[in-house]
């Protein structure tokens, strides 16, 4: 298989930062191109304020969810619960405001805490039982799913804190606040993995557990922290849903699982762990978002939408792949 052939002599492999950078620039180019095409073919419709707002408002949650998945991918784990957890935290947040009558800021804090706590539990379970994280999160996902439904049954929460909603739906200088929040979160995450020793240790554990351990890194701690961060981010996404949509029910999050994987993986994050790319993840989320927009703009026959999404996902990855010399290892 061609993975054995080194590109050309020196340097044997491109530098890893470059490889990520390659992916990111390609994705950026793709996003821009897609956007330009959209703008051109819809006579600038997508440049109009309303559309822009819609694009970025509903980009926020996919971005944060992608990052939440990325946090666990960084140590080579997966979190199947991100979507359901987002929904649960949203329901908790709404419940705290509507049923418990707490002020919005307390409810938000409560939701974030819930997310982090569940993430922590996931991490501890993985470390203590040594059960594959995939299965652990699969099991906890079922539990959270039950809890999510338990909060308010099938009914919908509406008309909670108007200040929170108007904040969530509002915008600063034309930029939706939820999107700003998502960007802020992305920057924090990037910073965490780049400059915070804890974040570095996560990547070390993901990149080569044995070496990490021999270098005094506790892989167990890395696992727990990764799951905790993932949970916290899912909580944040839940809060965003509450603030943005103004109405939530137990179905929130059911469509988030696959996107949560698609964004980081298209963004160049390694499933095996050790490599993360915040910018790539966010750009990938944007590209996927543009497909939704295209559907609405061209009123595409629903039957074709999924075909197109599939083509875009594969195409995006292919292009990034072809642009960067193949790294070794199994696909």
């Amino acid at each position: 298989m061609t993975t054995l052939t080194p590109p050309e002599r020196r340097p044997r492999l491109p530098r890893l930062p470059e490889r990520i950078a390659g992916t990111e620039t390609t994705l950026a180019a793709l996003a821009v191109a897609g956007y330009v095409v959209l703008a051109a073919t819809t006579h600038g419709a997508v440049v109009s304020g309303g559309t822009l707002t819609a694009i970025f408002q509903f980009l926020a949650v996919p971005m944060v969810i992608g990052l939440s998945q990325m946090a666990v991918l960084s140590v080579g784990q997966m979190n199947l619960g991100v979507g359901v957890l987002t929904g649960f935290c949203a329901m908790v947040c709404a419940w705290l405001m509507v049923a418990a009558g707490l002020p919005a800021w307390l409810a938000v804090a409560g939701a974030l805490l819930t997310g982090a706590a569940i993430g922590l539990v996931n991490g501890l379970l993985v470390v203590l039982t040594r059960i594959n994280g995939f299965v652990v999160t699969l099991a906890t996902m079922t539990i959270i799913d039950g809890l999510r439904y338990g909060v308010h049954g099938t009914a919908t929460y509406q008309g909670y804190s108007h200040r929170l909603v108007s904040l969530g739906q509002g915008s600063v200088l034309g930029v939706p606040t939820v999107f700003l929040a998502a960007v802020a979160i992305a920057i924090l995450v990037a910073f965490f993995f780049r400059s915070v020793p804890l974040g570095r240790r996560l990547l070390a554990s993901g990149g080569n557990p044995l070496a990490a351990r021999l270098s005094g890194v506790s892989n167990d701690r890395s696992l727990v922290v990764a799951h905790l961060v993932s949970g916290l981010l899912a909580g944040a996404a839940g809060v965003m849903v509450v603030a943005l949509s103004g109405s939530v029910n137990a179905t929130i999050g059911d469509d988030l699982l696959l996107p949560s994987f698609a964004a980081p993986i298209i963004g160049g994050v390694a499933l095996a762990g050790g490599v993360v790319s915040v910018l790539g993840t966010c750009l990938a989320a944007l590209i996927i978002r543009l497909v939704d927009v295209a559907q609405a703009q061209y009123s595409i026959n629903p039957d074709w939408v999924d075909l197109i999404v599939g083509a875009v996902v594969l195409g995006a990855v292919l292009i990034t792949q072809l642009r960067r010399p193949r790294a070794g290892g199994t696909p």
């Binding site: 054995l4 052939t5 080194p6 050309e8 002599r9 340097p11 044997r12 492999l13 491109p14 530098r15 890893l16 930062p17 780049r194 400059s195 915070v196 020793p197 570095r200 990547l203 070390a204 990149g207 080569n208 044995l210 070496a211 990490a212 351990r213 021999l214 270098s215 005094g216 890194v217 506790s218 390694a270 050790g274 490599v275 790294a327």
Partner: protein, 528 residues
């Protein structure tokens, strides 16, 4: 003020790796730790660095170091027995993990690579000792630290390159730099020179001597006795997990005596008498003016049945790549490859193996030689499944028989057929990766760096084996950076430099001095 590993015992399922081994380190000395493959050297080092916990025995460190970390079962005098307890000011310590060993001032380069592929050189070197500012990673300081360490080794490397882009040799140097970065009082080096060139090795030893003069203790594990004698002061020899010589001045021994200690009985370095090849015989493998996309230019050579053709050169000369090109792993852009006189274009190892009976023993044991996560049976049988299978199915017994055959023939130390290849010591893994090709009984065998990290006795056994294979009529292309090995084995030696052949040396006399001089001359001659 000594560090002491006292009568350590360690058992792995099926194997007693250590059986009362003792290692006593004096500061300001270079201490050689010698032993055959599987003697327990790496295990001892893993215990001293908190990677493994001993089943028995104690580790004692100077009091002030002991103070530096957590659990202390109390003063060593509680368990007074044996000679070691005369050491005043020693404290028994139990390392709960590598961190503890680091805090106790013990730095290490493990035998197997331990780098984070995705991290840059600097990030790897600074992994244990990350410089911080206000709790955050201080990248500038980190680069400085890395450059400092690399300079001490006299290595030029871009510290921002990811290690995944480095050569084996370069990775090795980064490992050493990483150990230096911890600035510890004891430095354990487990076969650091296995993949280094002569110059790089010399540089390393320069650093080692400097460390010794700074009053640190350095432990050096190596199978290359020449370099051991060049740098070490004292020696501990392990045999079957027991220390048969404890912290003796190395000067008291000759290489011969050391070898006998390791082997357990007088080890006569037999002269290998190999029948010369009949002049008339047609070449089994023949390259004519071969060029590759990797930069090989007009490479012509031919190996005849029963002949050992040596391909010598420095690391990076392009020998392995040439071999891989012949196997179809890299495109051949010009020239012809002939097998048994028939011009062929080999496109895959499978084709080479099944159609042309060509085998390739890789230099990169861990990634390409063996399947670390698979049982030994499958590691050996993988090349012959097509032969073993009846109606598409394979019986375990056949595989086990195959394994036992080569276990006896190559003297492989294993605890059972179901053992995973990853659990063998380095040397034994190498034997497995060779056994696979012997099982496939090829006509043509390309052997790449067969004895890296392999002890003297096994090495001698390998050499005999290779000669036998040749005598049995195999055509062998031997790639090696080990000059003595070349001279012992090869009938003719081709020298490669910068992806070109610079000449050939007939080695019919097997006389070391003349041959090595001739080769050395070719090495530094301009490419023809």
């Amino acid at each position: 003020m000594t560090y002491l590993a006292d009568r350590l015992v360690k058992t792995f399922p099926g194997v007693r790796a250590l059986d009362g081994a003792t290692l006593r380190l004096q500061p300001g000395s270079v201490h050689a730790l010698l032993g055959e493959n599987g003697a327990g050297k790496s295990t001892l080092i893993k215990i001293m660095t908190g990677v493994l916990r001993p089943d028995g025995g104690r580790i004692l460190v100077p009091r002030d170091d002991a103070g530096a970390h957590g659990k202390e079962p109390g003063p060593a005098t509680d368990l007074v027995k044996g000679p070691s307890d005369t050491d005043a000011g020693l404290h028994e310590v139990r390392f709960s993990g590598p961190q503890d060993a680091q805090r106790a001032g013990i730095g290490v380069v493990h035998q197997e690579r331990n780098l984070i592929p995705a991290f840059s050189v600097a990030e790897n070197i600074a992994l244990q000792s990350t410089p911080r500012r206000r709790g955050l990673v201080d990248r500038a300081a980190m680069r400085e630290l890395a450059r400092g360490c690399l300079d001490r080794l006299g290595v030029r490397l871009d510290v921002d390159r990811p290690v995944s882009a480095l050569s084996v040799a370069q990775m090795q140097l980064v490992e050493i730099a990483k150990a230096l970065a911890t600035d510890s009082r004891v430095l354990l080096l487990d076969e650091p020179t296995a993949s280094l060139t002569a110059e790089e090795t010399e540089h390393l030893f320069g650093v080692v001597r400097r460390l010794r003069d700074e009053g640190r203790a350095v432990v050096l594990v190596s199978h290359k006795l020449e370099e051991v004698f060049a740098v070490a002061d004292t020696v501990t020899v392990l045999r079957d997990g027991r220390s048969v010589a404890e912290a003796h001045p190395l000067a008291d021994y000759t290489q011969e005596e050391i070898v006998n200690l390791m082997v357990g009985r007088a080890h006569a370095a037999r002269r290998l008498d190999k029948a010369p090849v009949a002049p008339g015989t047609a070449p089994a493998l023949r390259l004519d003016g071969v060029a590759t996309a990797l930069g090989h230019r007009d490479v012509s050579l031919s190996v005849r049945p029963g002949e050992i053709l040596g391909l010598y050169g420095l690391v990076g000369a392009g020998r392995s790549e040439l071999a891989r090109a012949v196997l179809g792993l890299h495109p051949v852009t010009a020239g012809t490859v002939q097998v048994h006189g028939r011009p062929t274009r080999i496109t895959s190892v499978g084709q080479a193996l099944h159609r042309h009976r060509i085998g390739y023993v890789s230099e990169n044991r861990k990634e390409e030689g063996v399947f670390l996560q698979q049982p030994l049976t499958r590691n050996v049988a993988v090349t012959v499944w097509n032969r073993l299978s009846r109606a598409g199915l394979i019986r375990d017994r056949d595989e086990r028989d195959l394994l036992t055959t080569y276990q006896e023939r190559l003297g492989i130390r294993l605890s059972g057929p179901a053992q995973l290849a990853g659990q063998l010591s380095g040397g034994n893994q190498q034997k497995i990766s060779l056994a696979k090709w012997l099982a496939a009984d090829c006509d043509i065998l390309i052997i790449d760096e067969p004895t890296v990290g392999i002890d003297v006795r096994t090495k001698a056994a390998f050499h005999e084996l290779i000669v036998h294979l040749a005598s049995d009529g195999l055509a062998i292309l031997l790639i090696s950076s080990d000059l003595p090995e070349m001279v012992t084995l090869a009938d003719r030696v081709l020298v490669m430099r910068d992806y070109r052949l610079t000449g050939e040396v007939a080695n019919d006399t097997h006389d070391y001095d003349s041959t090595s001089r001739a080769i050395g001359h070719l090495l530094h001659a301009a490419a023809v």
